[in-house]
Chain length 395, copies 2
């Protein structure tokens, strides 16, 4: 087949970004596309003409993509200007690249749309593949990357919950990623199997955070259970819309904040005199291969494959979507979505997924999220429950 | 067989504490011991006579112990006094308990020795099972719990390393558990396969921490690699022997410190103006079932079984040891160790396991640690390396 292909990754990685790359490479090979290039280090690499010829790599290296977190071709957060898009179009022509696949979140889809426009009139087809662990891409049901992040937070909440229940002497604040959207934080609710299971409290960035209410919630649960597990978003803000953690450093480009979990653990210690600790798995949660969701991996591969198929038939300026189909059971379809419908829109949790008090999610959210994490979590066993029951039956 | 058995857990859980309980229950069943009790909530439960009859539980619940973190019978950090030991002896007699298994770290072994003494002259046999993720029990090669903690930190360092290499724009400080002993922090070195792999820096509590040297190390590596992964112990201290993090709260019983990783990330941002973040998996590292080491699980079950066998033949005041056998390959034996040799001695990393600069471990340590983590970690694939090589061969 005439013409070469270029895969480009933008922004932070997920647990399945390489799975999408795998899908792109396999589909391109099956379509008999000429050279299968990867941009080494994000969209910046297009300008630098820094490409790797992935079609020449040994097969076992391609297979190993499925067990490698991050991205094998690298990514960037390089800020692009209009002049860059035009320069990119020239580079693509120069290298005989006919198919360009941009894999990323909202910012990358913006770039994808602009490159597509800059290539208008040329024999070049630019297609987007969604990716964001935060799940903040609009229009689609969810983005590849989120189901694995959801499975990770649900699993660690389940496991840390069993640990804390064993030795219930403290409050444990687990910090989840997602600065503006609470999807990952919310997914910790999937850890629950019966009343009293962790997480006991969930705080999302979609609602203002009130320290006094948090402390009252913690105190009440600590008195009842001994061990309390609260899952909080890294981006919690107060009623003024400011981060609950004071900024630690400012540069021209960014403001750096301390860790929300460490801040809240400290608050519990100081204000309630209760032992508290913070757990902040952070990047571990988007890099864990053991806790990758099978559904997520398969959808990520599919999205990569569908993007190549779309480009090959001449689609451009579109993103592969994920739409949940109506009816029994969990099934998806992958419609192509005009990129301008996606570009730079951030999706947060809808009100119907958050409880009234703002310290938990609703059953509605749990129903939506459960199919994404690839089956049930293992059920933990506690003989403390047996003992309590035996005691009850004696009384 | 005449006489009942009681299993008691002390201190913080590990990933395989329930595996040892599994070994105890299975061996006790095979020996035909009368009732198989668990103390519900640590040694305190003996005083409260709060026992659960585990022999009566359905088989599938016993099997589920192998995939449950924490401890199914609960634990405590209850401080015991001499009067408690004598009271315990009475309770044991009252319930016809002939065999007592204490599973825990240094503090629990101290209790184990004292209960054994308090039962002298009685037909009661008290045996210890080692357990500590920190690996700070003396005399033995390593304790059940440590190999899984080692596999966890090596795996997350490997995975976060792949993530950071994909988008090398920051310094990432991973905090490992072990306040006084650096064994877990050190085990992150097992993530390395080739030069340049994470972890790039390792700081242990056995050596004084110098902020200026740390910053110089980070700056040098950041200039070279872009992305830097440093693994640090939660218990780092300065030359005065004080925590590098100022205390945040003091009570009569304890002093609480902030998180070392958050502190160091902030230091990098403020002093070097480089983006930095902290990852503190914390309890996730001792609760992860997916990253449990197979070697660890098998040794934990074995230690539980051997403890029951020892008690049944009338041994008391001993702990089941783990000794690495001489010769080719990794094999262990489980000698019984007089408890007074173990009691309250804390084992830290020997000097031969730490490099001269105090920012890494030695190959000697890696050789010792590698057999414990159950085979190699999966090899990550990066096409950035291919691209760099291709570029080199073109020049």
């Amino acid at each position: 087949m005439e013409g070469n292909l270029l895969a480009v990754h933008g922004g932070g990685p997920t647990a399945v970004l390489n799975a999408s790359l795998y899908g792109v490479i396999r589909q391109a090979q099956e379509c008999g596309i000429g050279k299968i290039y990867g941009a080494v280090g994000g969209s910046e690499a297009i300008l630098k003409e820094n490409f790797v010829d992935m079609g020449k790599l040994p097969d076992e290296k391609i297979e190993r993509l499925l067990q490698t977190p991050g991205t094998a071709i690298g990514s960037s957060r390089f800020p692009l200007e209009q002049e860059h898009y035009e320069a990119m179009a020239s580079v693509l022509k120069k290298h005989g690249i006919k198919y360009v696949l941009f894999n990323g979140g909202n910012g990358t889809m913006d770039a994808c749309g602009k490159v597509s426009k800059a290539c208008q009139g040329e024999d070049i087809y630019v297609v987007g593949i969604p990716k964001t662990m935060d799940n903040d891409i609009s229009i689609i049901d969810h983005a590849p990357g989120f189901p694995s992040a959801a499975k990770y937070i649900a699993t660690v909440t389940n496991e840390v919950g069993a640990d804390v229940k064993s030795l219930p002497i403290h409050v444990c604040v687990i910090e989840a990623m997602g600065r503006n959207a609470g999807w990952i934080t919310a997914a910790s609710a999937l850890a629950r199997k019966k009343p009293g299971d962790a997480p006991h409290l969930i705080y999302l960035p979609e609602r203002n955070f009130h320290e006094e209410e948090f402390l009252a919630d913690v105190k009440r649960l600590y008195d009842e259970l001994g061990g309390v597990v609260a899952v909080v978003s890294e981006g919690l803000r107060n009623e003024k819309g400011e981060s609950i953690v004071p900024p630690i450093f400012k540069t021209d480009r960014a403001v750096y904040y301390g860790d929300v979990s460490a801040y809240l653990a400290e608050l519990v210690i100081k204000k309630l005199g209760i032992k508290a600790r913070s757990e902040k798995p952070g990047l571990c949660g988007r890099a864990s291969m053991a806790l990758q969701s099978r559904v997520d991996r398969e959808e990520a591969i599919l999205a990569g494959r569908e993007a190549v198929k779309a480009a090959v038939v001449g689609k451009t300026g579109v993103m592969v979507g994920i739409r949940r189909m109506e009816g029994e059971g969990y099934r998806i379809e992958t419609p192509l979505i005009p990129i301008e419908e996606v570009m730079l829109h951030e999706r947060v949790m809808p009100e119907t997924y958050i409880n009234e008090r703002g310290n938990d999610v609703t059953e509605h959210f749990v129903q939506w999220c459960r199919p994404l994490i690839d089956g049930e979590l293992p059920e933990m066993v506690s003989f403390k429950d047996e003992a309590a029951q035996a005691l009850k039956s004696r009384i």
